[in-house]
Amino acid sequence: MIAACLKWVDRRPEWDPATSQVITDARTSGLSAPDAAALELALRCGDAWSQPVAAVTAGPPAAEVVLREAIAAGAARAVRVDLPATSPSNVVASALAGVLADLDATSTWCGDHSLDRGSGSVPAYLAAELARPQALGLVEVSIGGTDEVSGLRRLDRGRRERLAVAGGGVLSVEGSAARLRRAPLAAAMAARSAPIEVRVAPAGDPEPATLAPGALRLYRPRARVWPAPDGDTALDRIADLTATGMTKGRPETVILEPDSAAERILAALAAWGYDVP
């Protein structure tokens, strides 16, 4: 069995300044691009290795839409573990791992990060729980013989690493790794009422103890440490620190029509001392 772990998440969250909350909407929620790519690759493996594909999600009943999308595209089974949408990564991972072990999934496909948490940690937790190798954040995938996959993973500073996994593993992919196939019309219609297996999450306090969710606030960049200023005199150092050699005024927000915007930008560049033709 091949598995795809799919998370139900809002693709267009909005910040509500009045309540300091991120507002989500079930109508714009569904598969993220990385999870859609994961599903497609799971299906391709299913085709290549003649194995059925199971779609698995941990979430509330509304999350079943992602499973229906998977069934429409060709998944043979769909399992939802009943959990609140905001469950932390390790809780999600242990719930998913239980199902994956039951299904006897060898290769498990995930997205490289979920849009809300964005940590990309569920796949790594899964690898740990299932004691399987991980290949995470793949941008390019090639499918070999049964349970053999290799792929290209981004490293920092523009480098890449080519990884190979044999005998199954947990693989996570970026959204560009594959484009999800369109479901045939009849399959899409049938998926509306296809059966979905629902499991209760393992009872008891998860290990380790999870943290209470904290208060949200609008993202603001953190104050940064600046390198010590250069200069022999205090005045030079202050000038260096504040870059007064250049006119850097107060930050400014302007609402303009395109033409005026262009004029304003060119004027600013000139005022800051950039030669503009």
Binding site: R27, A183, P184, E257
Partner: protein
């Protein structure tokens, strides 16, 4: 044997009401929508008149996802620096059975389509209809953009909105002059509810609908400003050919409207949340296509059932009404075993003629041309505003001028000819009277 009884294309207000009507009668209905959910891509000004639902969804007001009930309606004539408003408020519109309400389309359409689903209609989103299946001249189904994407039905209802691809493919449009279209552009501007309540003088769930003429920078059209719970919808409806001819951008015209002295204090400080644009089949009666062909009926904007006649900007109610009638006519034909016959479109037209859908359009058929004339757009607002300004201006030590002198002076200044005024008044009386 067709796959299903009826395919409804487009889960806008027209499609949802058609599907709801048919599903309730026990028909096997599939509702196909190209967006990821009903209403996702749909925009409009912001006021719905849902009384047409009284029969279909009794007590709809208890559950409909509305923003505010319109209890204050203002019609404004404007020049660059002046505004003359007729402002009407009534408590009656703030109680059941209500009159108009502001609502967001994604909420409204999703709610209506949800009702259809609850009655057994099968809704399939992210599915675009790309063509009609035909048997000779009869429409027998649709082709979609999905693999193996053909679906057959005994009847197809085209509710795919303005510029209907299906109605055109079936050859039902005879007049596709771009002059019949207007483009609507709208900004949604966020402001705290308390600020909106205060600026517009309303409380609780009550809200305001302001329609404006003479505010579109010389491009024939009109403007609107509606209050939602914590946003405003502000926009303009513009004549397409004139917009193109004047090489103006709609954003520019909205920006000027928002800067108008009568509007600026209302919208000031709001955060722009969304900008959207959409065509409107403003031509109404004059551009109305054939309403169907064997195997297919057309409802809503797809059939140009939209009233964009100046102080009226209605389409959702016509869409809901025509969708319901299409559903009823088809159900009746199924019962009589005549759905396959070529007379379906004629039955549909006859049924519609007995309702507001065709009656209002017929009555107001001259209105769009009148409203878009440069007299109504520019000169009459200037004349009216000028007259009022002179009446209320105190030029002491000069004595007050007589009304007749004011009228003549302003008429002269604005270049309005009495003959035109009389003719337009008559036209207006015939259209609206």
């Amino acid at each position: 044997m067709p796959d299903v009884d009826v395919i409804v294309v487009g889960a806008g207000p027209a499609g949802a009401c058609a599907a709801l009507t048919l599903a309730r009668s026990g028909r096997d209905v599939v509702l196909l929508e190209r967006g990821p959910f009903p209403g996702s891509k749909n925009m409009y000004g912001g006021v719905v008149y849902p009384r047409v639902l009284d029969g279909l969804i009794p007590q709809w007001w208890d559950e409909a996802p509305i923003q505010r009930w319109v209890t204050r309606r203002s019609t404004m004539m404007m020049t660059a620096t002046q505004a003359l408003a007729v402002d009407y408020r009534t408590e009656a519109w703030g109680q059941a059975p209500y009159n108009g309400a502001t609502a967001y389309r994604p909420d409204w359409d999703a709610w209506l389509a949800g009702k259809a689903e609850a009655e057994g209609a099968r809704l399939l989103c992210s599915t675009t209809v790309t063509g009609l299946l035909r048997d000779g001249t009869r429409v027998v189904g649709v082709r979609t953009d999905r693999p193996e994407g053909e679906l057959s039905a005994r009847v197809v209802i085209a509710c795919d909105g303005v510029n209907s691809f299906l109605a055109k493919e079936a050859g039902l449009y005879h007049d596709t002059d771009p002059g019949h279209f207007t483009v609507g552009v709208k900004e949604t501007v966020a402001l705290p509810k308390s600020v909106i309540d205060e600026r517009f003088g309303v409380r609780g769930r009550h809200g305001v609908d302001i329609e404006m003429v003479g505010c579109t920078s010389g491009v024939p059209g009109g403007g609107f400003l509606y209050t939602n719970l914590d946003t405003l919808s502000v926009g303009v409806v513009l004549k397409v050919p004139a917009l193109a001819a004047q090489a103006r951008r709609p954003e520019e015209i909205i920006a000027r409207l928002k800067a108008h002295p009568a509007v600026a204090p209302l919208v000031e400080g709001g955060e722009l949340k969304e900008y959207s644009a959409h065509l409107i089949p403003e031509g109404g009666w004059e551009m109305m296509p054939d309403l169907g062909c064997p195997g297919m009926l057309v409802a809503g904007d797809a059939a140009a059932f939209c009233l964009a006649a100046g102080i009226w900007l209605e389409g959702v109610n016509f869409a809901m009404g025509s969708g319901m009638v299409a559903g009823q006519v088809i159900d009746r034909a199924f019962r009589r075993g005549t759905a396959a016959g070529a007379e379906l479109p004629a039955l549909y037209r006859r049924a519609l003629s007995g309702t507001f859908v065709l009656q209002d359009h017929r009555k107001l058929r001259r209105a769009p041309r009148l409203i878009m004339s440069d007299r109504v757009q520019e000169r009459y607002p200037a004349l009216a505003a000028g007259v009022v300004e002179r009446i209320f201006r105190i030029d002491n030590p000069a004595p007050k001028p007589g009304l007749r002198r004011i009228l003549r002076g302003e008429q002269h200044r604005t270049g309005v000819r009495l003959r035109d005024l009389a003719r337009d008044a008559l036209d207006g009386w015939r259209s609206y009277g």
